[in-house]
Subunit: 236 residues, 4 copies
Amino acid sequence: MKKGSKAAEPDTTGIPSDTARADARRGDTRRKYDPEQTKRNILEVATQEFSAMGLTGARVDAIAERTNTTKRMLYYYFGSKEGLYQAVLEKVYGDIRALEQDLHVSELDPVDGMQALVEFTFDYHDRQRDFVRLVTIENIHGAKYVEQVKTFKGRNVTVIHTIEDLLARGIATGQFRSDLDPIDLHLMISSLCFHRVGNRHTFGTAFGRDPSHPRLRARHRAMIVDAVLRFVRKDD
Amino acid sequence: MKKGSKAAEPDTTGIPSDTARADARRGDTRRKYDPEQTKRNILEVATQEFSAMGLTGARVDAIAERTNTTKRMLYYYFGSKEGLYQAVLEKVYGDIRALEQDLHVSELDPVDGMQALVEFTFDYHDRQRDFVRLVTIENIHGAKYVEQVKTFKGRNVTVIHTIEDLLARGIATGQFRSDLDPIDLHLMISSLCFHRVGNRHTFGTAFGRDPSHPRLRARHRAMIVDAVLRFVRKDD
Amino acid sequence: MKKGSKAAEPDTTGIPSDTARADARRGDTRRKYDPEQTKRNILEVATQEFSAMGLTGARVDAIAERTNTTKRMLYYYFGSKEGLYQAVLEKVYGDIRALEQDLHVSELDPVDGMQALVEFTFDYHDRQRDFVRLVTIENIHGAKYVEQVKTFKGRNVTVIHTIEDLLARGIATGQFRSDLDPIDLHLMISSLCFHRVGNRHTFGTAFGRDPSHPRLRARHRAMIVDAVLRFVRKDD
Amino acid sequence: MKKGSKAAEPDTTGIPSDTARADARRGDTRRKYDPEQTKRNILEVATQEFSAMGLTGARVDAIAERTNTTKRMLYYYFGSKEGLYQAVLEKVYGDIRALEQDLHVSELDPVDGMQALVEFTFDYHDRQRDFVRLVTIENIHGAKYVEQVKTFKGRNVTVIHTIEDLLARGIATGQFRSDLDPIDLHLMISSLCFHRVGNRHTFGTAFGRDPSHPRLRARHRAMIVDAVLRFVRKDD
DNA sequence: TATGAATGAGTTTTCATTCAT
DNA sequence: AATGAATGAAAACTCATTCAT
């Protein structure tokens, strides 16, 4: 919410934003209409609202209010509340998969690669709470909105390829067991990284311990890496 | 209302109430004036609706319609939509913890006990999707409703005690490593059992594989037991 | 409200109530059914609720809750919410007129009698806020409920007779002017005594001075007596 | 909402707004999009309903029906039933105080000024029954809504200033007694003017005489002026 | 491209009253 | 005489969306 309202008054900081600079280049101090910026602004606010309140809990009015524009524009660009929600999903899912490709674990030793993958997954979930929440929300709705996000399925294959590659190389070197399914392993890693973020509130009130607390963060990270490596390693 | 919710619990005692006995005598299962049955009926329907639609998505009218009573009774007994939602949470959280106590893992060998605990946790989540969904929904609302459920915090301690006991005995016999935190371990087990149920829809559409499919079920169960045991076992 | 709940548990004081004593006389420690007491109890609570909330603002449930009985009894004895309201009016109007007759101003010198009447009127309104509020409420409803209170009209004639008598005697002695209408004079006295009680809340917030404050009470009393006497006195 | 209520006031300036001018040009009095008119219309209808039925007795639907708009707009502009009620209070209290300032009693001889003030007060209450009823209603609610009307307290000081001025000048000329408190005097004048309007129904049924009848009106007006002047005049 | 006003259908909640025991 | 459960009709309020400017 604060983030949202901050975004609405960047001109008070004195620091010219990207778009402001672009404006300046073209010679006008304040562009009146900037569709891209407007859309981006709406999406940002919507991401927060949807991830905070859920699809049904989110209020179109609430989103519009924290936006630089009006409600009408929201419909102009995204057609409907659901359309906006889908746009948010699209953006958010795009981000994580894009990052995963930058990992280059294929250049690492299998064990190190596996560790890097787990740590990346951990860090991503730990930081991108909006993503975690939105996935959660999607599941409440039976994933029927991501299904319509065209780019969704393709993107997920890459992780599996990464894991397949790691497993194959680890088996070859005798470091990893050979009876593992890559998708199952991905599920395992996801589980460990996701749950502590997604359900941190109930966990926190149940055990008086917030799993997202910085002190626990490091311990959990190490624990999860440890658990996964123990799981994939070949017994000797 | 307090009187109401208290009165709602005696059915768990197994001792039939006076009215229940009177019913039995007459042989009719559906009496017109049966507050306990009315409440139970409302709670059941509400559990389904809330877990299917979320707190904001659920419709009081929809719940009432599928009930033997009218919408009015829902307010009569539970005060408000939120009150009903909380009653559902209370019931659902009560169920799992009650079952956990029936496990009697303290009578088993540490490794067997740990396996039994993991298998129980797995099975419970696998079967009680409503529970999983409701926890998810609670987390979207920052757990603010479960916080108000008085019995909630106390109930959760028991799992931790069970794990503490298992760990202590396993350490004593040299089977388990001694550097584990029981709450962290509980989090790990929960993660593995929860995620595959709670996020099965996005997982399903992402990888074309429904993790709740019976064939995968057994494999996941074994995998999770395996992973946890590898994690807690002492290296030699 | 406090008064109400206190009335509901008089047995905790240890001081036997009138009815309890009556019970004792008859030899049973606690009478189970006492229709008169029940009715009285309901009326008392209803008087408070109606005077505090108005006819439309009052809640039958709220009244029933603060009663020793249940809502059903309220309908049993008074038929409806309106019936109960009327019963309250009847009781409350009966009280003031009964008291007025005890004044015996006819035995006093006209000026002293007038002063006594004004002081009595002042004191009554000052103390019986419930009465004042109920009159106010009745006027919002166009007095349509008092109209149905049979004893209502007759009761009011007595005040006018009292004033007529005072005026006549005062005129005879040359103390009072002869051009006054008794009903108008009654209206004037009522106005001065009623307004400061009935509208004390708006008056209080408007001028930061609560006209029902004890310190102001005496001043207002003297002022009103003064004003009335100056008004009725014959100029010389 | 703030923007809305601010925008609602410029019509008192007498300067026609742009849209009003545009209207005039086209010659149509009822435009489809005219927020000011919409708000004014709602307020007018609401004033009647609230004053006739009280806050709890008033029906939002009933107000909406007699409006040119729908119920929704009522919430759009005033937020809630209570919000609308408060807006009504604000308007109605504003009116009387505004008029009082137009009296210019400071230019009159103290006795004439006092008479003018009393007559004004009398006439206002006699005509503005809605105002009287609403004040009555507010007092049933302990003035808690008027308390929240920001402009309320400030407005009331002006009457007191007027009275202070009159008293000071009257004392200086030797026409008025010097022992009077201006707020008490205001209370007295209000009492006399308010009661006969506010409680005319019970008074009417009690004494078979409607104090608001035109024939009584003049007599009461003279009587009250007389009473007040006798009260403030210095004895000689 | 942008805006603020407007809307209808729906959603939660309340309330006086009655029924079965 | 007394009770707590039950009820239907109505009331307040909300929400995604569209219209006029």
